[in-house]
Amino acid sequence: MRIFLLKTAATVLTMCTTVASAMFVTSHLKNPTAPLQPPVLTAGTVSSSAALGGTLTVGPSVQPSNAEPMTSTYAS
C-alpha cells in the first residue's frame, strides 16, 4: 500500500510539473525585441539595392545619405 501511494504521488508530481512547465513556456514566448539578439535576427529589417555592379545591403544601424562622401572604402 505504501509503495502504491509513493508511485501515485510521484506520477501526480511529474504530471503537475509537466503541465506547469508547458503553461509557463506558452505564456513566455520569445520577445523579438529583447536586447542582445544576434544581428542575423534583424536581417529582416535590412534594405537591399543594386549598386555599381553589385548588391548593397544596409542594416538598421547604418544610415544612407545623399551627401557627398568625405572618404571611401576601396580596394588597395
Binding site: 544576434p38 542575423v40 553589385g54 545591403t57 544596409v58 545619405s65 572618404t71 576601396y74 588597395s76
Partner: protein
C-alpha cells in the same frame, strides 16, 4: 540641419597605398604626427623590407623572437581573425604569396611564380606561437599581416586622435564620433554614401594587385589565388579590423554563403560578382 563643424584633413602615401585622416576640432600638426605614426609602424610591419620587425620574425623561424607590443597586439588580432573566419583569414600566407610571385611591392611588378610549391595553408595555431613579448614561427612558414594590420592601425590611430575623427588607411577605415554635422561621417561604399558613427569599413577585392591570372588574395584552402565567384566585397562593421576580416571572409566564402555571413557579422555590405546585372 546643424551647422557643419570645421574639419582638418591630411592625406599622405604610406603602407603602399593612399591614407587620409580627418578630424573635427584638432590641429593639423596632430594629423601630421598621425602620418609619422603610420610610417613608423608601417616600416616595422612590412614584409618588403629585410630590416623590418616582421621580416626578422619571418627570417628567424624556429626560434623565439622578441617582438614589440604593437606586433604582439596585431598577432593576437590575427588569431582573432582566424577564429572569426573559421580559418579563412590566415596570416600565415607568406609562402603562397611568394609562390604566386608577389615577392616585392606591387609597384615594382610581380616576381616569378613557382606554382608547384603551392599547397593549402596550415592552421595558424600550428605555425605561430605567442608568449609575452615573444613570438615563434615554425620553420618554412611566414606571415603577411596585410589588411589585418591596416584595419588594426586605423582603429588604434583613431582612438588616439580624438573623439571625432576618421582614419582611412588604404580603404580600411574607422569613423569615430558623430562627424561634422552630428549625424555620422559620410563614407562611400559600393557607390553609395553611408553615415558611420563609431564604425569601421573595409573592402576586399581580387580586382586590384592583379597580374595575369594571379592576384594577391590567397584562399587558404588551396593556397591559390581565390576564385569564388565574388570579385569585391565592402563591409561596415564594429571596427576597421572586423570590417577587414568580414570582407575578406565573405569574398572567400563566395556568393552563396557571403550574404548570410555578412548578415551575422556586418552592419552594411556590398557584394559584387563583377557583372552589371
Amino acid at each position: 540641419m546643424p551647422p557643419e563643424s570645421s574639419i582638418e584633413s591630411h592625406h599622405f602615401e604610406s603602407l603602399g597605398t593612399s591614407c587620409s585622416v580627418f578630424a573635427v576640432g584638432q590641429s593639423h600638426e596632430l594629423l601630421i604626427e598621425a602620418e609619422f605614426w603610420v610610417r613608423r609602424l608601417g616600416a616595422r610591419l612590412t614584409r618588403f623590407s629585410a630590416d623590418s620587425e616582421l621580416s626578422r620574425l619571418n627570417r628567424d623561424t624556429g626560434d623565439w623572437v622578441p617582438i614589440s607590443a604593437e606586433l604582439q597586439a596585431i598577432s593576437r588580432a590575427a588569431f582573432r581573425a582566424d577564429e572569426m573566419s573559421a580559418g579563412l583569414v590566415n596570416v600565415a600566407v607568406l609562402p603562397s604569396m611568394h609562390a604566386v610571385g608577389y615577392t616585392r611591392p606591387f609597384t615594382e611588378g610581380p616576381g616569378v611564380a613557382t606554382l608547384e610549391d603551392l599547397r593549402p595553408l596550415p592552421p595558424l595555431a600550428d605555425v605561430l606561437e605567442l608568449r609575452e613579448g615573444e613570438a615563434r614561427l615554425q620553420a618554412g612558414c611566414g606571415v603577411d599581416l596585410g589588411g589585418i594590420a591596416k584595419g588594426w592601425m586605423a582603429d588604434r590611430l583613431s582612438a588616439t586622435l580624438g573623439a571625432d575623427v576618421v582614419v582611412n588607411l588604404g580603404g580600411d577605415l574607422f569613423a569615430r564620433g558623430s562627424g561634422p554635422r552630428g549625424d555620422g561621417w559620410p563614407v562611400g561604399l559600393g557607390g553609395s554614401t553611408l553615415l558611420l558613427r563609431d564604425q569601421g569599413a573595409a573592402t576586399s577585392s581580387v580586382r586590384r594587385r592583379r597580374w595575369g591570372e594571379m592576384h594577391h588574395l590567397i584562399d587558404p584552402r588551396t593556397g591559390l589565388p581565390a576564385k569564388t565567384g565574388l570579385e569585391e566585397v565592402s563591409v561596415v562593421a564594429a571596427s576597421g579590423f572586423e570590417a577587414e576580416v568580414v570582407a575578406k571572409t565573405a569574398l572567400l566564402l563566395g556568393p552563396d554563403l557571403a550574404p548570410a555571413y555578412c548578415a551575422a557579422h556586418a552592419m552594411a555590405w556590398w557584394l559584387s560578382d563583377g557583372h552589371d546585372d
